[in-house]
Symmetry: C3
Subunit: 346 residues, 3 copies
Amino acid sequence: MAFVRNTWYCAGWSKDFSRQPITRTLLGEPLMLWRNEAGEAVILSNRCSHRFAPLHKGCVQGDTAACPYHGLKFDSRGQCVHNPHGDGHIPKAAHLRSYPVAERAGVVWVWMGEAEKADAQQILPEAHTGFLQAVEQFSVATGHLEVSGNNLLVMDNLLDLTHAPYVHPKTVGGAPEDSVEAGMQVGIEEDDRSITSTYFCPSMKPTPQLRPLFREEQGDFRVRMRWQPASSLAMRLSMTPCGQADGSGVVLPLLHLLTPIDEHRTHYFFALGRNVALGVPEADAEMAEFARRAFEEEDEPMISACQAQMGTSDLFSLRPVLLQTDVANVKARRRVEALIVQEAGR
Amino acid sequence: MAFVRNTWYCAGWSKDFSRQPITRTLLGEPLMLWRNEAGEAVILSNRCSHRFAPLHKGCVQGDTAACPYHGLKFDSRGQCVHNPHGDGHIPKAAHLRSYPVAERAGVVWVWMGEAEKADAQQILPEAHTGFLQAVEQFSVATGHLEVSGNNLLVMDNLLDLTHAPYVHPKTVGGAPEDSVEAGMQVGIEEDDRSITSTYFCPSMKPTPQLRPLFREEQGDFRVRMRWQPASSLAMRLSMTPCGQADGSGVVLPLLHLLTPIDEHRTHYFFALGRNVALGVPEADAEMAEFARRAFEEEDEPMISACQAQMGTSDLFSLRPVLLQTDVANVKARRRVEALIVQEAGR
Amino acid sequence: MAFVRNTWYCAGWSKDFSRQPITRTLLGEPLMLWRNEAGEAVILSNRCSHRFAPLHKGCVQGDTAACPYHGLKFDSRGQCVHNPHGDGHIPKAAHLRSYPVAERAGVVWVWMGEAEKADAQQILPEAHTGFLQAVEQFSVATGHLEVSGNNLLVMDNLLDLTHAPYVHPKTVGGAPEDSVEAGMQVGIEEDDRSITSTYFCPSMKPTPQLRPLFREEQGDFRVRMRWQPASSLAMRLSMTPCGQADGSGVVLPLLHLLTPIDEHRTHYFFALGRNVALGVPEADAEMAEFARRAFEEEDEPMISACQAQMGTSDLFSLRPVLLQTDVANVKARRRVEALIVQEAGR
């Protein structure tokens, strides 16, 4: 499986981690996710080095997790610290692969590559994740979805939001006549660290999702979608009264964090914030429901249907016809390819 | 996948095609089936050339079908005629593969091979399909079934009807003691265009299906099953009072049109006519139910069980023991093989 | 598929065989299991040599089984004895592969390898199977389970019973503090014909399964698990009042007979006897239920979870960390490997 490995992937939201282990497969590897006694998020291989039993089904006691098959105990660095059988000898090789973890603003990041290269500087900057905990400014909903498609197909979907009027006309997109046909302006910005798609629709009707939050008939609608390798997308969506300064109206910061399960499935972690109707439970529920419908009932079926029609082929090998609106996602795919080649030392 | 491609396959009954597109996979290719404004049946690749989205989920407007993902529009020849994004430029390669189609007597035929070789002369002659619309002479029921077996296994089943007394004793076959053991005569005829199996059982009890239509205790039972490459089977079944001329009693014309879905599944389109009880709804319902039971509950489970026990192996590679009654289907298989070799230019 | 073939495998319990054929896949081969008129167990290939139809769906008459597709009849040695079609000629090759069978004490054994090497001397000795029919001494319950794991993983599970306190604390194992941590002694014995694991726990609390049969607070608990190639495991479990001679208390003889379905699934035939509460229906039901829970709800999920985490890889290719308690199963695996190599003539 060809993935960028020397990068930080979202392994889950902070609330997914507790003393009770769960399992989650990332980049083809089954992992055990839990918290040690100090409350630190721990990510270890979920395959016992003895008989490959699933460790998350065992018990956690203090800082150790016990294998449910023969009772070997491993500490939170993956070292076997107890063999209950015979003379208790612990073979040298009896340790689990352990992965560097960093927890920031409610996100647990994991480094699936060479541990010695794990560099906290490369974590998605707080400028993009800070809203998750800025409770005075934003109300936030988070979610998690498994998409039956390669992670790059999900990235393509997010870096080319011109699909919104077709896939999401009743949720997070407007109708074609309100956005695309009304002259939506699409741009792209790029630097060493990121690629950003921008969209501007002056005097657009608010999308169904925005209607309860933005009560005017029309407004200026702006979206920025910033991709940072390997697969973090930070989004900012705003709607202002026509002609007024960006930020003066409704602002929705979003995160889309993609982590490969394997070559044909992807963990899709999403978060949505809003700077209005703070702390209003009905607004929370409505925003979460719009996101669920858009991502789970609209995006996911479309991406998985494309994947199904592509079979196991790589996108470029099928010679897709590319449009101007694919510039951002093609650039991002080229960067991912370069990173994979670089890691392989080719 | 090894299939004859330069031939006409049944893509569906005329009634399967409407303004609302559907998808159907033929010879491994997902297709979109619909009708343009003029009412003509249209068959295009169902994979958008941009991102491989399933086009049948989009909207048809006039003579164009719009992709449900990003709104590209294609006309009924597969040409992209509208890109709603940016400056609207349409890349040269933005067209869908389009397949030659011919509609005759309620059957929609498609040519899956080289379009320039599509030759309407090769369509199954009206002599065999005419009954479908000869409402003065025949009442007709049609059906469609997906068989979990290679198309040649279904063809084998139809070209060797000696299975009928074993598989269908309570529907379309008689009991072994009434047919096989009573001396059923099996023959074979052959010409450049076709191979025909014939069966004659003098003084046989009518099969359960025939009993309501042929009220005598016994009759002369005749069946002709004519195969034309690649996979059209036209059948004629008759029962006359003993000793009387063929055609003087009940005549049932049938069609069995087989189209590969892939190597291990087959579309089975069938039609049954009868020259008696014309326009009697109870007879229609009964005839359709007998066919459904025979094909869906008796043939299909047998063929799919054989396929399952063969795995992915080709029939001949497993060295089957062949009987005299396999002559017709072995001849037909040899012709199919020769056509595949010829198309491959080997 | 790499299996030992020149050996006797359990094909089923005697009660599984009747005049009505059933099908069961052993070592990747679909078989038809039935009894001929003399009541002898018969095992033939379930694939008709004509069109590979599943023979178990046909009819048995006297000593012949008829194919449900075209009516060919085969006798109980697999020879085709009737072709109902044409001149009735029976092609020379029209016979089914037939397998040597031996029925002993309620077990039907089958030899899946070279028939001429089938040697009844190699059948599991009566010393280990006799309890099945020693109704004066033992009450017995039998069962059959399909495990989603390679047969060697099931063998490993049985030859290293140190998993019992972790996987079965509420059924057939004691709690860790009552067995492992209380100093269970594990031994191994070996001869040309077998490998035996032994376990001795002096002064142990009875396991939940034993409590209704052994009413004292503590007792000496002994287990012997004897493996004979390729995959027969005969077990003897006893609990005596502390310090008394082995056999003076409760004795449970057990059989675990493993037959590969394919590389990743295994037929698990088990039998449990007890020398107490003879003929007490409640004790029968309770013993059967304990076994079902232990094997079906505890062992099977653990083995199939290990198999799932191993994918299609062989155990040793994944470089497991081995413990002292793996000595018996590693020795057994080495013997199985040697037998496979020897049969392949490498």
